[in-house]
Each structure stands twice: as C-alpha cells, then as structure tokens.
C-alpha cells in the first residue's frame, strides 16, 4: 500500500467508515442469517474476530513466501485451519452456540470479509498493521451484527439477550442473567417478521442508510453496489480483467438510451 497510515487509523477505519458489513457490504449472508438474536450475533462476531486476527497475522507473515499465482488457495488453507480450531473450541465450551450457528460457523472459511482483508490488506502490509486491521474489522463486524440483532430480537421476539446464561457470555461469568423480556408487560406483541428474512433485509437497509449518512457527514462517499466493480477482488479478478464480466453501470440500459438518441439526433 502506497500511503502509510497510523495504527490508530488502521484500527478505527473498520469500526464505521470502512465497516465491513455496512460500508464495504461484505459478508452479507452470515450477517442476515446470524443476526436473529443478540446472543448468536455476539458468538458469530467473536468467532469471526478471532479467525480474522489470526489469519491476517499469519498471512501477513507469509506474504513474501506465497507465490502470487496460488495465493488464494494458500489463504484459504490458513483461514480454514483457524476456523477449524475456533469450531472445535466453540463445540467444547459453548455447544449451544455451535447448534445455533449451524453451518455458518464452518462457513467462516469462505467469509468475504476474511478473504477480502487477506487479499486487500494482509497480503500487502506488515504484521502489526495487519493484526490491527483484523481487530478493527472484526470489532466492526461484531458491532454491526449486534446493532442488527438488537433491533431484530427486540421487535421480532420481544426480548433482549435472550438465553444469555447458556451462551458465549457464560464464559465471562454471566450465569444468572438470562435476558430481558421487554414485551412481556406491554399490551402489544412482537412482529415475527423481524426475525424472518424480510425483516433482516429491512433492518440491514436501514442500518446501511444510517452508516452512509454518518460517513457522508465525515466527507466520505456513499457505499454503492456497482456490480462486480465494487468487489474487493475486482483488481485481480480474471473474469473482470478479461472482459467476461463487466461493470454493471456501463451496461445499464437506462444510461445507454439517451446516448443512442442523441447520436440519432446528431445525424
């Protein structure tokens, strides 16, 4: 990376301005799937945080050893080893989390955030900077998940931190507190849709708008989906480089129509 940033900046950029979920729009699938309850979100966030920091560190250490042509498989092997370790730990110490997350725990291997950070950052930067980047991005991911799951659990299930005593929090000594039933004393009942997929997308959209607003007020551009071009792998994607896939915007029919018309007028 050409520009050198301070370690503090490497850490803080992941929290909001380059938040992996809300600003880089990475890891959307596990975000939507595991943010149905705060406890699950916390478990998922911490698992990803651990894998991300470890993989970033090791990949940064190996960056001069790995030939660039086989770097993606090499990264995957490194990430997979850490995911396996985390999965074994979760199975041993927090079996409820393992059940709740199901396939999304092993799927951290192919999580865009981790691979994206390896490709975009750890493969090019020093060990300490990569580790700090991993911590910042991991905390950013956890925070985004927690924001989403707070909204979804509160309005969809009427509770906050339900099932905390058997969750990952139990490792930190939370054994008597088992969540708050917010809606128990209200005359209304929670709307199930927030737990389901549509409510997840809705909450995700609102939070993205909110994060965009904050980033805009700090002078950053909006996070926009530009098809393949917005992918963090875009610079090295063989399909994109060979022209098999194109930037969606350049193919947008709406944008193309006035251009054709003006040509005709010119003739």
């Amino acid at each position: 990376m050409a520009e050198k940033r301070s370690l503090g900046k490497e850490f803080s950029k992941g929290l909001l301005i380059e938040n992996p979920v809300l600003r880089l729009v990475l890891g959307t699938c596990p975000t939507l799937a595991t943010s149905t309850s705060m406890v699950n979100a916390l478990g998922m966030g911490i698992s990803v945080l651990i894998v991300l920091v470890c993989s970033n560190t090791v990949i940064s250490l190996l960056r001069k050893v790995i030939p660039s042509k086989v770097r993606i498989p090499a990264y995957i092997v490194v990430i997979a080893s850490f995911v396996t370790m985390v999965q074994m730990l979760v199975k041993a110490f927090v079996p409820t989390l393992n059940e709740a997350l199901g396939v999304f725990l092993p799927l951290i291997v192919v999580n865009c955030i981790i691979l994206g950070r390896a490709e975009a950052f750890a493969g090019k930067n020093s060990v300490i900077a990569s580790a700090v980047d991993g911590v910042g991005m991991g905390i950013g991911f956890t925070m985004a998940l927690l924001c989403m799951s707070t909204i979804r659990e509160l309005f969809g299930n009427g509770t906050l931190l339900d099932g905390a005593s058997t969750s990952i929090l139990a490792l930190f000594g939370v054994t008597k507190f088992n969540g708050v039933d917010v809606f128990a004393h209200l005359p209304i009942e929670p709307a199930l849709i927030f737990i389901l997929a549509p409510g997840g997308f809705f909450t995700f959209g609102l939070l993205m708008a909110f994060a965009n607003k904050i980033a805009e007020s700090k002078g950053k551009s909006k996070a926009e989906l530009r098809g393949c071009a917005s992918c963090p792998m875009a610079a090295s994607c063989s399909l994109l480089l060979s022209g098999e896939k194109e930037d969606v915007l350049s193919k947008n029919p709406r944008a193309a129509v006035p251009a054709i018309n003006s040509e005709e007028v010119a003739k």
């Binding site: 005359p187 209304i188 009942e189 709307a191 199930l192």
Partner: protein, 336 residues
C-alpha cells in the same frame, strides 16, 4: 398576444384529461362504500372501528412522512384513504386495533413513501401490509374470523368459524351460494360478493379501471378450478363458484390488482398480468399450505410488472419491428 399563444407549441401531451388523482380516488372510495356498509352490517361497529383506525393512521403517517422528507404534501389526493380502506378490507374484524395501525404505518411509510410516494410504489401498499401482518401475527390474522351476524347474538365471545375457503380445503361444511354472495365469514371487505361486483361495475362505467384485469383474473381462476374439480370428480361448478365467491378473489381482482402504479399499461400486458395472477392464486389454493392465495399472487405479479411492460411495449406506428432490426444488425456483425 393571443395569436402568439396559439403558435407556441409546448411539449406533449397536448390532449389532457380533466380527471385528477383526487377525482379518481374519490370514485374508488365511492365504489368501496357499499362493501364497507355491508361489512358494518355483517360484523358490527367493530368493522367501522378497524376501518377508522387504518384510514386515520394512513392519512396521518402520509402527512408526517411527507413533512419529514420535505416533500409536497399529498394527503389531498385521497390515495392514503383508499389504501386505508382496502387494508381494512383485508383484515379480520377481530384484529387488535394496534395491529391495524401498524399495518397502515408499514403500507404508507415503508411501501409507499420510502419508494417515492404515489405512483412510485413497486407493490400495492395495502397488499404488502396485509402480507407483513400475516407473517408477523399469523394467529391474529388467520385464526379468528367471526361468523356473519355473530355480533347480534348476545353471547360474550363472537362465534368464529373457518372461512369458506378454509372449509373447502379441510373438508368442512361449505356455505350455500346465497350466503357466499351476501354474507359469509372472512375478512371485512371480502364477505359480500354482491357489493364488490357493484363497486367494480361502477368503476368500469366511470372508466376508472378497465375490466380486462378483473375479467381475466377471475376467468383464469374459474377455468383452472373447473378443470381441477372435474378431474377430482367433484361437483365442478359448485367447487368453482365456491373458490370464486368464498375468498378474497373478487376484492383482489377488482380493487387491488387494478392499481395503476402496479399493473401493466398495455392491453396485452394486462392480460398477461391477470392470467399470471389467476394461475398463481389457483396453484397456492390447490397445492399450497394456505387456503387463500390472492394477496401473494398479486404481489408476485406486481414485482413482474416492469418486465411485462418491457415485453409488451407497443410498436410506434411506422417503425420496423425491433426483433428483425436486431437480427439484421447481428448478422452484419457476424459477417464483419
């Protein structure tokens, strides 16, 4: 001066209809009133309370959301009132009033105003709200349909029963055709087929809606039901009539599928849209878990409307068919 005015050519359209949005919406409200009266007659004042809450919440939330978004206020066009009435027609009369208010809020703020207000909504706000309510509160939305006229009996709890469609699905007792035409168990607005048809005829005469979508929608459903009934060796005609009159098909086809913003523009497009609605409704009713499929079929077809419109774009007079044109240019490219 006046000569100059005659010579000034403005941009098209040059011929303007005197119809305004407000006038059209007023016509729709007039067409909905007989069904509302029937609902109050059948379910009691509770029906009026539900309608009042939905209409009130719709108008207030439209006013506030336009104010917050700093846009021109549009409550004067009465579209929020229509959304409110149609949403109420989709709810059982026993629904808690706060749920009705929540549904109205979703319809106006999320489905309509967040996408740009009247004419910009990609699905019908009332149907989207109904589906969100149904997914969020399945018991309140489907479990307790009071019997027609149960409110007049002096029992404390209104006697509830399955809707004709649910009875048909589970093999229960099917009400007589006369009951289904006039008063049956169900959501507020779907229980009196006669007033719905009356409202539809009024709208067609006033040229507010074209009869294409309702006719093809009901026709497709009727044809599929007839075939299915015949294959199953039942009384096919009775089965078909029960399917058409027993649920929300008339309400959906006349008042919800014909929404301007969410139905195709061309004649051909309207036919495709209506047949699609009819097929999806029949498939959900016959082979799905749910007894009713009108709202889901309309919302699915609503989402397809932009594609239907693109496929059925009418060819401007005197132009070459685009397909041939494209083929010719493709061949040219290939040879070059």
């Amino acid at each position: 001066m006046s000569d100059k005015k005659m010579l000034t050519a403005s941009l098209s359209p040059h011929i303007k209809s005197p119809k305004t949005t407000t006038a059209i919406m007023l016509d729709v409200i007039v067409a909905l009133i007989p069904s509302l009266v029937a609902a109050v007659f059948i379910f009691g004042y509770r029906a009026l309370a539900v309608t009042g809450v939905t209409v009130g919440t719709c108008v207030i939330s439209e006013y506030i959301s336009r104010l917050v978004m700093k846009r021109r206020n549009t409550i004067g066009d009465l579209s929020a009132v229509v959304t409110g009435i149609i949403l109420a027609f989709n709810l059982p009369s026993t629904i808690p009033l706060w749920m009705a208010a929540f549904g109205s809020l979703v319809a106006i703020v999320v489905v309509k105003q967040m996408f740009g207000g009247i004419g910009q909504n990609f699905v019908n706000p009332a149907i989207a709200a109904r589906i969100i309510l149904m997914v969020s509160f399945p018991t309140a939305m489907t479990a307790s349909f009071p019997n027609a006229f149960a409110w007049k009996n002096e029992t404390i709890d209104a006697i509830t029963s399955a809707t004709p469609l649910a009875a048909l699905k589970s093999g229960g007792e099917i009400p007589a055709i006369r009951d289904m035409l006039l008063a049956k168990s169900g959501s507020l607005g779907e229980v009196c087929a006669v007033t719905l048809i009356l409202g539809g005829v009024y709208l067609v005469i006033r040229r507010v809606i074209s009869p294409v979508i309702p006719l093809f929608y009901v026709g497709t459903t009727a044809a599929i039901m007839l075939v299915y009934g015949a294959v199953k060796n039942e009384n096919a005609v009775m089965f078909m009539l029960c399917q058409i009159l027993g649920g929300g098909l008339l309400l959906g086809s006349i008042f919800m599928a014909t929404d301007y913003a969410t139905s195709p523009i061309s004649f051909k497009g309207k036919i495709i849209f209506a047949i699609g609605c009819g097929v999806i409704t029949s498939v959900i009713r016959l082979f799905g878990n749910s007894a009713e499929g009108v709202s889901f079929s309309i919302i699915i077809m609503n989402i397809l409307v932009p594609h239907i419109d693109r496929l059925t774009t009418p060819r401007p007079f005197g132009t070459v068919k685009e397909k041939k044109h494209k083929k010719a240019s493709d061949e040219k490219e290939a040879t070059a």
